[in-house]
Subunit: 376 residues, 4 copies
Amino acid sequence: MSIRKHTEDICAGLNNEDYSVQPQVFVSPPKWHLAHSTWFFEQFVLGNFAKNYSVFDEDFAFLFNSYYNNVGKRVLRPNRGLMTRPSVEKVYEYRAFVNEKMTEFLASDLSRNVADIIEIGLQHEQQHQELMHYDIKYILGNQATFPSIENNFDFSQKNIPLKFISFEEGVYEIGHQGDNFCFDNELGRHKVYVNSFEIADRLITNQEYIEFIEAGGYQDFNLWHAEGWDFVQQNELKAPLYWHQVDGEWHHYNLHAFEKVNPNEVVKHISFYEASAFAAWKDMQLPTEFEWEVAADQLDWGKLWEWTNSAYLPYPNFQKAEGALGEYNGKFMINQMVLRGAALSTSKNHSRKTYRNFFHPDMRWLYSGIRLVKHG
Amino acid sequence: MSIRKHTEDICAGLNNEDYSVQPQVFVSPPKWHLAHSTWFFEQFVLGNFAKNYSVFDEDFAFLFNSYYNNVGKRVLRPNRGLMTRPSVEKVYEYRAFVNEKMTEFLASDLSRNVADIIEIGLQHEQQHQELMHYDIKYILGNQATFPSIENNFDFSQKNIPLKFISFEEGVYEIGHQGDNFCFDNELGRHKVYVNSFEIADRLITNQEYIEFIEAGGYQDFNLWHAEGWDFVQQNELKAPLYWHQVDGEWHHYNLHAFEKVNPNEVVKHISFYEASAFAAWKDMQLPTEFEWEVAADQLDWGKLWEWTNSAYLPYPNFQKAEGALGEYNGKFMINQMVLRGAALSTSKNHSRKTYRNFFHPDMRWLYSGIRLVKHG
Amino acid sequence: MSIRKHTEDICAGLNNEDYSVQPQVFVSPPKWHLAHSTWFFEQFVLGNFAKNYSVFDEDFAFLFNSYYNNVGKRVLRPNRGLMTRPSVEKVYEYRAFVNEKMTEFLASDLSRNVADIIEIGLQHEQQHQELMHYDIKYILGNQATFPSIENNFDFSQKNIPLKFISFEEGVYEIGHQGDNFCFDNELGRHKVYVNSFEIADRLITNQEYIEFIEAGGYQDFNLWHAEGWDFVQQNELKAPLYWHQVDGEWHHYNLHAFEKVNPNEVVKHISFYEASAFAAWKDMQLPTEFEWEVAADQLDWGKLWEWTNSAYLPYPNFQKAEGALGEYNGKFMINQMVLRGAALSTSKNHSRKTYRNFFHPDMRWLYSGIRLVKHG
Amino acid sequence: MSIRKHTEDICAGLNNEDYSVQPQVFVSPPKWHLAHSTWFFEQFVLGNFAKNYSVFDEDFAFLFNSYYNNVGKRVLRPNRGLMTRPSVEKVYEYRAFVNEKMTEFLASDLSRNVADIIEIGLQHEQQHQELMHYDIKYILGNQATFPSIENNFDFSQKNIPLKFISFEEGVYEIGHQGDNFCFDNELGRHKVYVNSFEIADRLITNQEYIEFIEAGGYQDFNLWHAEGWDFVQQNELKAPLYWHQVDGEWHHYNLHAFEKVNPNEVVKHISFYEASAFAAWKDMQLPTEFEWEVAADQLDWGKLWEWTNSAYLPYPNFQKAEGALGEYNGKFMINQMVLRGAALSTSKNHSRKTYRNFFHPDMRWLYSGIRLVKHG
């Protein structure tokens, strides 16, 4: 239950309204996360396996299903922020109720099959924990008043010259190995031929990114994908998300404060388009996800998710899970790019070198950063 | 201060999230109304006239200005529902603070000029009280769970045959008379030539409106304005707002309950387009605002605002007020239709026969109804 | 048939592509006008009354119906510019075919009823002639190359000081009188009480309008309706349609040339919003349509349609025509403003003092101008 | 010049309006293709290398640049269909003029560098030839009247049982080899590890696709990518592009006729989403572009472009060309899927096994089809 508890800890410092708002379609209200991750256990564990279980509220399946078409109708995603009922208090009651029922249920005989689903439920909740970090920052960072809440992520990075680690070309094995939990998209360990490459030993810093800005990086279309350039133009982008220029100096919102950008921290809240343009400006590239996995043991990582230049596609022998859980990964394998590594916002057990995170190339509200590679 | 108190009473039964959401651009969160009507006093009275007044919070002028371009920048209207800070609690503190300062201020010598502005501030707050009735119903009526809150509006209407009262053609005087408060748009009492007409002695009932629905009124384009027909098609309208068909019977959401439509109540939450189509189906018309005002003394009214077939335009000698308050009425005199009368949701002092309410012809969330006239 | 011939004359100088394009929803391709005005005779005259008439092409009723829901389905308005078939040549054949059939038909005995419909058909075609003038200018004026075609409209105006003609308050008669043709919206001559007013003896000139521009008229929100101000902001308006600043001087496209704005011509291609803001800047008003009609005999008019401050609404005893032709006027009586007078682009027989033209307040592609009034 | 001539041959049967319309943003008017492919030679060859060359028309660089930011401003893509000037005739004159100048220029001494650019110009024109096939079909296929023009593409396919050809896992070489022309995206021949797979010996037929439709393929969300399912829902897709059900039987528009779907032809005008859902329904996959290239020598191909399950990404040592031509390929390497093979619409020299075609996954107007693979 400590995992379940952590979900609630992430919300420390929020007022009721912070819990309930949806400033963009890609943001979900924290209240919704709290309820949805609970509904997942009610739907897939208690509802299917616990004797005589009766649901906390008949309406919640409709209100808190995310995208499982197999399970039934649901509130449309853009309307999650319009749900004022149930209240935050009621959702906390719901969590307590389901936790109690789960505890009772876990005390009974537990089959292997159910244990697997519970494992997925916890992993799923941890994924939502990370999304909550993104969403809460987005909600607060778009208030005119920049509210301050506690946060102790340390993004500092020694601004020492980039060094590159070399890897020989050859056949490498990619994908999850062993008995520990992983998602279906990591399975099917297989061989990949990787050409020789050199990979940076650290992420790009704010200092380095400011040089890109000052060199006119956001004005030079030659550095950008065509769709990235459109994205920059339409949104009049001039800097990473949460950055604002005040009296000629770059500031950003960082949960505990709106403050000057620290040059010796890693640059974060970067879209794939920006990461790729930065690399082009350096005359380098982003790593493929295979290069990244090959190099992972020699990298220090865990501060930020690192954009790769690999599209999110199935491994050669990808099999999606049976039933509703089969909707978990496979159906998103189009138009998204893979990120590797993990961020300070990532929950325990979600940092492993085969983990494949993925987002659309214009997303900036995640904790994402830039690592470079060189070829040839 | 009883007017100010009433604003808060309207919110009884809301949870924090109900206060803060904006399901459509035309809806404002109740929290916003509470703060905006307070800001109005701070901005136009305390800020201008009270000695040594310092504002409750520097950010509030930006956050709670509605549309006064003369006063400065403001949160864009579609983003009112994204304001999670200040919290509901803080807004209530703001109200208490400004109330206290106003009480102090009122105890000092009060010039005629300031009294006028305070009068407008109270009238303004009462207008927002009515909007809050609309907005709260819209917010709750769009929850999947139809929450119940107390409400004692009595919309019952004897379903007796319509009778018509006749008026002779001739020159009549229109517009406000006397020393009582009125808005600038009612001033400039002037002569109007009105042709003979007969006006219904009561509003249309749900029973009569159901006959229109069952006769195919929503499917017969000949009854509708071209833009009204587009509106019906695009929104797949089949009945008034808040109506849902359950097992073949019309139900509607009415704050205290989701319940069967009572045939002996007046039909409400009707757009101008629907009112006009209904009249066309009866081979009658909606009254002009002048016919309505001429007949007003012989009508029983006050249940619902009554759509007229008059566009909202200035009276012959209309003068808009000086300064920011000049933005109050004149700049809205395009593309809107006048409603006359008053509704159960209308605050005291806002029921007078010269009062000109106005909305766009597709608005349905207000307490609006239908009165018919016949000509020739 | 001279009226029918004139429709084709208006297209002199167009190439095939000019005939077929629809750069905005409110523009119709000239080819469409040519065919639609022909279809009107086929549908309402030949199809209903001529013995053994068989239509030129079965598809044309679908392709060239404009908005007559009673007559059947039709190509959606925004898709008129996508119709490449029939070709321009085929449409001219269609016109010749229907002209011939009409000539044969007219030679036979003609009932009063049919004569009325033919009259409407010709009036209808003349209205489309005027729209063709607007549409052709819009199509050509939005080519990067500003093509030159012949045009001899003379918009010159002596730039003498504005003089105002006074009218006494009193009861006046409004609406069409006599046996000549008029539209249903002009009928029902009735009394109106008009307050005293003074009306300008000429239209506003480019010179006067440039003064408004240079005084910051497009930047001062106090002069504008709220929706007008939105319109200005969203479209970044700084001058009338077709005006471009070249080397600090105002130029405009005028069919025969792209040339310097002549200060001594009337300002044209003005939206209602701009006309109204200009009047506000002068501390004057636009006339109501009743004031205009009362004054008409003492005005020199016919250069441009003149925006009034009257919404397009039915006269007291308005009766819409029976059948499909009943869709002609009544269903547009919402959200539009009346223009009075006539323009150089107006066809003969469409200049009469009771004629009620109407457009949405943001339309600028028509030949519209500004006349001021003063009150009190 | 035979390549240039072929571009004009493709337009046989078009009327002037067919040349000029743009029914969707992804369609360009044939007139635009004719001019743009000509401008390419004027801009990159004559303008840079021919002595004393003066351009045919100063405006054409603005009008007919496609997406080369390095070359200057241009007409926005969605407005290509609004260009009525220059006329079709003028564009043919432009082609003749540039052809003549090119002939003169080619007669002079030709450096290797210029020859390369001319080669690219011709390849570029051939790519536009193929797009013209798509665009012309789209323009005509969306006319209410389904115009008939000559077309002799033979899409017939023996409806014999699918057979699968097996390939062993191992390291294979991918990418262009030799001195013949290829695009920059094919270069950098490199090793790829390919797992064992079996690939179908022919494309899917209409008969097989109808079985998918009749089995409810368009209604079963489990078969679709999440974004594919949205695409199906929003566009209410039920069959491939150009298919219409008439009296219970599938018909399609095929340029020469609107006719019954022939079960023994390959299914075409399929989006990636549909290809992928079809494969999922068969419990198979689409090939990766590497599997396809490995198998190519044993496949019979050339009827339709074949969707692969590979995202369009750079090869390991991808280098984009210098200058404006560097915008040719690299900047599109996001959000698109690779197609391999060639179609009957493909110009000579554009059929080679290393050729990487690419489109967004929702595009259907190209000549695309389905080939299946099985794994493990």
